[in-house]
């Protein structure tokens, strides 16, 4: 049964939510979610690449010979990643500095190759577009929420884009932030608990 565009889009938000449902793309999920802003920034960069590469690969799917398809996918994905990298340097330089090596590493993020191989090269342009956007937004929300939880527990406050901020200490004056949560082990524990919660909720 062919799915509608809406279904292709919404599956990325829950059923196939990349880091929690498919457990894909964990390297940046663990690495950059030290703050909500980093998580969202990384998610948006990935969404752009995913959206662009999905469209292009779907458009070229009849031209690309199957024996060299992976090489072609990598060229397309790497080009989009480099474009994102340059654009981030040009317009959001502080965020680019914070994300550092994780931006070029989007190339090897298995979500991108996974979507190209499993979806874009088999489906038409409009559903690939919906798929890329859905998965990308799902990924952004997942990284953003993980980043928000870690930042809130680790620093006691959440700040996004320098203006919007929420301070946990004002609501719970006795709370003491524990920096453990923004360090590497905190990422594993937080992700584990998140997976646990998502699995408990189920489909």
């Amino acid at each position: 049964m062919p799915k509608t565009l809406v279904q292709e889009f919404t599956k990325g938000l829950w059923q196939e939510l990349p880091p929690f449902r498919l457990v894909l793309g964990l390297c940046p999920t663990l690495g950059v979610t030290t703050s909500m802003e980093n998580g969202l920034g990384m998610g948006i960069a990935t969404t752009f690449v995913l959206f662009g590469s999905n469209i292009l690969i779907s458009m070229l799917r009849s031209v690309i010979p199957s024996k060299v398809r992976i090489a072609c996918f990598i060229i397309i994905i790497a080009s989009f990643v480099t474009i994102v990298e340059l654009l981030m340097q040009a317009y959001t330089y502080p965020l680019y500095l914070k994300l550092g090596v994780f931006i070029p590493l989007i190339v090897v993020n298995c979500i991108l190759l996974g979507r190209a191989e499993a979806f874009a090269c088999k489906n038409n342009v409009s559903s690939s577009m919906a798929d890329g956007l859905g998965i990308g937004i799902g990924y952004t929300l997942a990284l953003g929420s993980l980043g928000a939880i870690r930042e809130l527990l680790g620093h006691g406050s959440v700040t996004v884009w320098g203006h919007l901020s929420y301070n946990l200490m004002s609501a719970f004056p006795s709370y003491h932030p524990f920096t453990f949560m923004v360090q590497a082990p905190g990422a594993f524990i937080c992700l584990g608990l998140m997976l646990c919660l998502i699995n408990a909720i189920g489909d």
Binding site: C72, L86, L97
Partner: protein, 197 residues
Amino acid sequence: MNEMVKMVVVLTVLSAAAGGVLAAVNKGTASQIKDQQLRFVKGPAIETILAGSSINPIENRFEIKEGDAEKSIFVGKFDGKANTIAFEEFGKGFGGDIGVMVGVNMDTDKLVGTAVTVHSETPGMGARAKDDPSFVSQFKGLPVANPVSVTKDGGQITAISGATITSRAVCAAVDKAMQAYQKMKPELQQEIKKVGK
């Protein structure tokens, strides 16, 4: 055979197109990226070194050729005299190159300050070279004629504990800057006159 040709053609065309697009994007964003780097990487370092300057050092900069590379020289004006310059040098650190902005007073030939711009040192260890001002403040007031090194190597700079390689790299960068300054001095004096006006 036919398939073989198709593979080669597709890959070639795709790579060429990707190269073209990237070159265009690179060209289109180059000047914007340079601006951003000046503002966010070198900007804070320049501001700490040339704090209190009556002119904006980033706007009043000029380029000097030193060997193959072009150097950006930032000029600060104090008490009505444009006599202080700052520029960046690099040293090999633990995790890659460390950029150090070095400020020199051209009248006294002494360092007015140093600040780390870019680095990829270990957080909490080598990264303290940037975060902890007490380390870089040791360079302040040293004459450019004498080489600097950490106390372990018989010098005058107390290294950051647990980060000797980083400390050495910063010293090496400052050393390089002092040598470059002495070499460039005649040219600098020429250029700086234009800024003073």
